[in-house]
């Protein structure tokens, strides 16, 4: 409890703290600001004044050039489709796994958890060749579904781990009550466990989307054709063999970042609402 302090001092202290925190945040976000201001400069401006100067007016040439060069519309659609599908499927798979492992007293539960975490044990480079041959074998090489399946599994390793950890402290009274009422396991999952863990599920959904969106290496291996590429692959266009164009790269960076920021802003609200509305009573 706050001891009696002079109201004015307390008021001032709050604002000082807020300003300090804001300054810190600004520092953290400086790189974004730099990408933004450099993507609307002309090449000559950059060469002359360097990356720290403010642009002399807005020049969208780099942005438009990049968009056309890589057919960014198609790339955006690919990335969105893949990331969204992975986010949904990953959450579902995590939920199924964690439901069994977190709530059920399955024998060797710990070892099964480790089994799932194996997805995170190997660096992606090691999976590249085997997955490449698998994809060719199943005729899904150079198709989005290959990437979707791979990341559904990889992301759900983390999801299973986090969710089962949270479920292990799930109130047993609820489960017992529901089972007494004749609820099946599936019903338990559908009507009790899932809704109550919505905050965590939302967090997982956002994470999975963003992580999948930014994946570079395995999509590079599994999606060679231009028509199937995702945003990070398209960003690589400007890192040519013989040097890169900084304003073009900023432009591509900006276009690469914006969708994710928008997605996060939209879903941040849902997160908040889910968290404040939910919570295990």
């Amino acid at each position: 409890m706050a001891s009696g302090r002079h109201p004015v001092t307390k008021g001032v202290v709050r604002w000082i703290v807020l300003i300090a925190l804001s300054a810190f945040l600004l520092l953290m976000l400086m790189p974004f600001i730099m990408v933004a201001i450099n993507s609307v400069k002309t090449e000559a401006e950059f060469a002359q004044y360097g990356p720290l100067s403010l642009p002399h007016g807005l020049n969208f040439t780099s942005l438009i050039d990049f968009w056309n060069r890589v057919n960014f519309s198609q790339v955006l659609i690919n990335s969105t489709y893949i990331s969204l599908t992975v986010a949904i499927l990953g959450v579902v798979l995590s939920l199924l796994n964690a439901f069994a492992l977190g709530l059920g007293k399955i024998r060797g539960r710990v070892w099964i958890l480790i089994f799932f975490l194996m997805a995170n044990f190997l660096p992606q480079e090691a999976l590249a060749y085997p997955l490449y041959y698998f994809a060719k074998f199943f005729h899904v090489y150079d198709q989005a579904i290959a990437v979707i399946l791979v990341f559904m599994v990889i992301q759900s390793a983390f999801g299973t781990y986090l969710l089962s950890s949270v479920f292990s402290s799930f109130p047993r009274e609820l489960i017992e009550a529901a089972t007494l009422d004749g609820c099946s396991k599936l019903g338990l999952l559908q009507y009790i466990v899932a809704p109550l863990s919505l905050p965590t599920l939302s967090v997982l959904f956002v994470f999975f989307f963003i992580w999948t969106w930014n994946e570079f290496f395995l999509p590079l291996i599994l999606l060679p054709s231009n028509a199937n590429q995702t945003v990070p692959l398209a960003l690589a266009v400007n890192q040519g063999q013989y040097g890169m164009n900084i304003t073009a790269q900023s432009a591509s960076g900006l276009l690469g970042i914006l969708p994710c920021i928008i997605f996060f802003l939209i879903f941040q609200r849902t997160l908040t609402r889910g968290i404040t509305a939910g919570g295990i009573k």
Binding site: R14, V17, L18, L21, M28, L29, M30, P31, V35, P51, L93, L96, F99, A100, L103, G104, K105, I106, R109, I114, F115, M118, A119, N120, F121, L122, P123, E125, A126, L127, Y129, F134, L149, I154, S156, A157, T160, L162, S165, V166, S169, T179, K185, T200, V203, I210, V231, P232, A236, Q249, G253, G256, I257, C260, I261, L271, I275, T276, G279, I280
Partner: protein, 302 residues
């Protein structure tokens, strides 16, 4: 009572089936294949040639590998310890102080802001940080000169003694937001009555923080520590874009070394061996962690 417990606890196995099948195909079989390849010499296209343990013998004596491993351990500090601690403090601070004084929206705003570096594709982050740490016109050195600390300026990425430090700074910047978001979600689970009761009993802020808060969100803390540790041990992308393991091998990490073997020198067998070594270390670490965690959970439920 006992019979009721067991019927409630049975019948969950079926829910594991989709997950197990998917994992077998996507992860386990490739892992097995990787294991097999590590005993061969293979260029990636025609048939592999069996050479037994030779790759591993070479690996044990490979100084570049051990150097990269040492770098990884150093990075562990950057990527695990610092973000977890900073994240915990920031999350609590935002959750308590900011929310109570300025409302939920403001703390959500800050949370989003701190998380933004996680959203940015690694390549873009790397390029921008190269600008910031550029020795001649980068912001850091510019500011240092401006406030009279010119002797502190360095060629951050070019000097072997500071290169790893520079990479660490970038990685911390990227990582901090992740624990903040997880911990803030975790803090939701703490019933406010618990904290109020403790306050009434005369507990200080720190006592409440240490004995109640940290104790209650222990699952999430362990998750964050474990996942960031694993992520660090596997790290590749940022090193690839920032320094390509240089200067010299000052910032080389095992995954990058494996990548070189897979895709630059086409030594798929040796690369597989390196990946396996990293995987083995991670597996051991994970087993230890999970056992600690499940033991704690068992203590809880008693």
């Amino acid at each position: 009572m006992k019979r009721k417990t067991s019927s409630i606890d049975k019948g969950y196995g079926i829910f594991l089936i989709p997950g197990i099948i998917a994992f077998l195909i996507i992860i386990i079989f490739p892992f097995m294949i990787n294991l097999g390849i590590s005993f061969t010499m293979w260029r990636g296209v025609r048939a592999p040639v069996w050479i037994g343990l030779k790759n591993f013998q070479t690996l044990i004596q490979d100084s570049v590998f051990w150097l990269s491993f040492k770098n990884d351990l150093i990075l562990l500090v950057a990527m695990t310890v610092i973000p977890t601690i900073v994240g915990l403090v920031l999350a609590t601070f935002l959750f308590d102080y900011i929310t109570n004084n300025f409302g939920q929206n403001v703390s959500s705003f800050f949370r989003a802001g701190f998380y933004l570096p996680q959203i940015i594709p690694g390549a873009v982050a790397a390029i921008v940080w190269e600008w910031i740490l550029q020795p001649d016109w980068g912001v850091v050195n510019y500011v240092l000169k401006g406030i009279g600390l010119s002797s502190w300026t360095r060629d951050w990425f070019g000097n072997p003694s500071t290169a790893l430090l520079a990479v660490m700074v970038v990685l911390v910047w990227v990582q901090v937001g992740y624990p903040v978001v997880i911990f803030m979600a975790a803090l939701q689970r703490i019933e406010p009555e618990l904290l109020e009761a403790a306050s009434i009993d005369g507990a200080s802020w720190f006592q409440k923080f240490y004995y109640i808060t940290i104790h209650l969100i222990r699952p999430e803390i362990l998750v964050v520590i474990l996942t960031t540790s694993i992520y660090t041990l596997k790290i590749f992308g940022q090193v690839y874009v920032l320094t390509r393991g240089g200067p010299g091998n000052a910032t080389s990490v095992p995954s990058y070394y494996a990548y070189k073997n897979f895709f630059e020198t086409q030594q798929v067998g040796y690369g597989s061996a390196i990946s396996l070594a990293v995987a083995a270390i991670i597996i051991v670490l994970t087993i230890i962690f999970i056992n600690i965690q499940s033991r704690q959970e068992r203590e809880e439920s008693v």
